[in-house]
């Protein structure tokens, strides 16, 4: 069982006190580009997932505390949680270094100007 600390209100609880919102940093293409969304972009947004075996970034909500969303950095094998950061923030460099290579590629791609629109 996971023991989670809400980075917003500081309360510590069991996983049932929180709600997992799945993979983090999935940007809705229609927000940037309401008129010209490709089928590929819409599919990626709706269905494609990194699903890494290793260190993952995901969203959690402090259900029985302050009710706020936040990001957690968690290993999908050992279940260890390495840290938290704000819901609008990118992962801190130290966590990104630990993360699965898929995540490093994600934020590398987001740096390139051409891909900037599609990613968060």
């Amino acid at each position: 069982m996971l023991v989670i600390t809400c980075p917003v209100c500081g309360v510590e609880g069991e996983e049932a006190d929180f709600h997992c919102g799945g993979e983090g940093h999935i940007a809705r293409p229609a927000t940037e580009n309401p008129d010209g969304i490709s089928d590929d972009a819409q599919r990626d947004y709706m269905f494609m997932r990194k699903n890494p075996k290793g260190v993952h970034f995901e969203r959690w909500r402090c259900d029985r505390g302050c009710g706020k969303w936040f990001h957690a950095c968690r290993d999908t094998v050992s279940m260890q949680i390495f840290g938290y950061y704000g819901i609008t923030q990118r992962p801190p460099a130290a966590l990104l270094k630990k993360a699965d290579p898929l995540w490093q590629a994600h934020f590398e791609a987001a740096k390139k100007p051409s891909a900037k629109k599609a990613k968060s």
């Binding site: 069982m1 997992c20 799945g22 599919r43 494609m48 997932r49 999908t76 279940m79």
Partner: protein, 432 residues
């Protein structure tokens, strides 16, 4: 299993595979069962195969069996990192039913259920199919309406099903709590009389034995670590037992599918989560149907050994560890204690988890891919034991002909791009 169906070049022909029968049983009993022949070989991998199947779960083994038996393609290997049937196929609660809502789902699940009816004869292996009847309780008005709709849809395509009222539920399941005095009183149930269970290991073993007898190499303790390709075409696989060349590769690895497909540079619309189950100490016969309670998230049946086999919903977050979390189990057991009060004092003996492959529409993927010669069968999530025979059969067609048949076509990967999703989130609301 007829000799004529076997290719003469198969390394272990029909003459060598002894038929299981009352006579072989009697003969071996005479010698204290010490001389039973091995059910399948343990070959070293050859340098090259026409088809390599990754993953010796039920779906991979059934695919190999039907490639050999229906398409006469026997230069086939099934590569398994652990032991055959040791993934979700050996971890599930064995519920078999076909009461899905959408046409493509009904087609494949009913094909599968009907193949289960005489699979023991087909494989000459007792898979203990037990069509004991299956109930899905309706515990809210909404659920009652939804299951009515499903039962009508089922009957329209010829799947035997009907709605029953609370009195009939009580008649079929005397141990059920039929009072009004609970949070979710039973309003009725969906009833599929030919739904039921089978022995999960036997399904894997039966297909393995049948495939092996037709020349398929089943290679256990061999992990696939890479997929090699030239341009758009696959050429082979890197494994812990060396490189193996392959003209075609079929990936059937359930919760590990994202990882294996990544080896070929493809990402998948899959999330891997843990689904758990548990069994009680054995008790005398108490329940002779399968009961699912989707609103409260639990289901139960009784095994031939007398254990109550219990399952519920999947954990809420990604997991590759095959170990689930306690709150999910507690939630399931709480629900079932209210539904079946007599189980409240039972001790639970074992619990375990499997890593299931969830798609966004809760329907499977049976598909070609953007890489030539690479095929994938996955996304069965919490409910793919029931579909092993049907899935193996249509996936073998796809791999053999490089083209999906009518049933498999609907489950291709491009449905996610075309918005052609097959929404079964209601039929799959609770794991099963």
């Amino acid at each position: 299993m007829t000799c004529a169906a076997l290719p003469p070049q198969s390394s272990m022909g029909c003459l060598k595979m002894k038929k299981y029968s009352i006579f072989s049983l009697a003969k071996n009993a005479g010698n204290y069962h010490k001389d039973w022949e091995r059910a399948w070989r343990s070959p070293e991998p050859k340098k090259e195969y026409d088809v390599v199947i990754v993953g010796a779960g039920g779906h991979g083994l059934a695919t190999a069996y039907y490639l050999a038996s229906k398409h006469n393609i026997t230069n086939v290997a099934v590569i398994e990192k652990g032991w055959l049937g040791g993934g979700n196929t050996g971890r599930n609660t064995t519920i078999i039913r076909s009461n899905y809502l959408q046409d493509p789902s009904m087609a494949i699940y009913e094909l599968s259920r009907s193949l289960y009816e005489d699979l023991s004869q087909e494989l000459n292996y007792n898979i203990m199919f037990s069509p004991r009847g299956l109930l899905m309780l309706c515990q809210t008005e909404h659920e009652l309406r939804a299951m009515k709709r499903t039962s009508h849809a089922n009957r329209l395509v010829g799947i035997e099903a009907r709605m029953i009222d609370r009195a009939e539920v009580k008649e079929l399941v005397p141990i059920i709590n039929d009072s009004d005095d609970c949070r979710y009183p039973i309003l009725g149930a969906y009833y599929q009389p030919r739904g039921g269970t089978a022995r999960h290991d036997a399904v894997a073993w039966g297909y393995a034995r049948g495939a092996d007898a037709r020349g398929v190499d089943i290679i256990q303790q061999c992990e696939v670590t890479g997929i090699t390709r030239t341009g758009r075409k696959v050429t082979g696989l890197d494994t812990s037992k060396g490189h193996i060349k392959a003209k075609k590769i079929a990936v059937v690895t359930a919760g590990n599918t994202s990882l294996v497909m990544q080896m070929a540079g493809l990402s998948m619309p899959i999330e891997s989560v843990c689904l758990q189950a548990l069994v009680s100490e054995p008790i005398k016969p108490a329940i002779d149907v399968v009961v699912m309670a989707n609103t409260v998230h639990g289901y139960m049946s009784q095994s031939d050994k007398g254990e109550l086999v219990i399952g519920g919903g999947a954990d809420s977050y990604n997991n590759y560890s095959q170990r689930g979390s306690f709150p999910a189990l507690e939630h399931t057991v709480t629900a079932l204690v209210e539904t079946f009060p007599i189980i409240s004092r039972l001790r639970m003996m074992r619990m375990w988890g499997g890593i299931v492959d969830m798609t966004g529409d809760r329907s499977p993927i049976i598909s070609k891919t953007d890489v030539d010669g690479l095929y994938v069968n996955c996304g069965w999530g919490t409910g793919g034991f029931k579909s092993i025979p049907g899935s193996g059969s249509v996936f073998a067609d796809l791999v053999a002909k490089d083209q999906p048949g009518e049933i498999a076509g609907a489950f291709s990967l491009d449905r996610f791009k075309q918005g052609r999703t097959i929404d079964e989130s209601v039929a799959a609301a609770v794991a099963h």
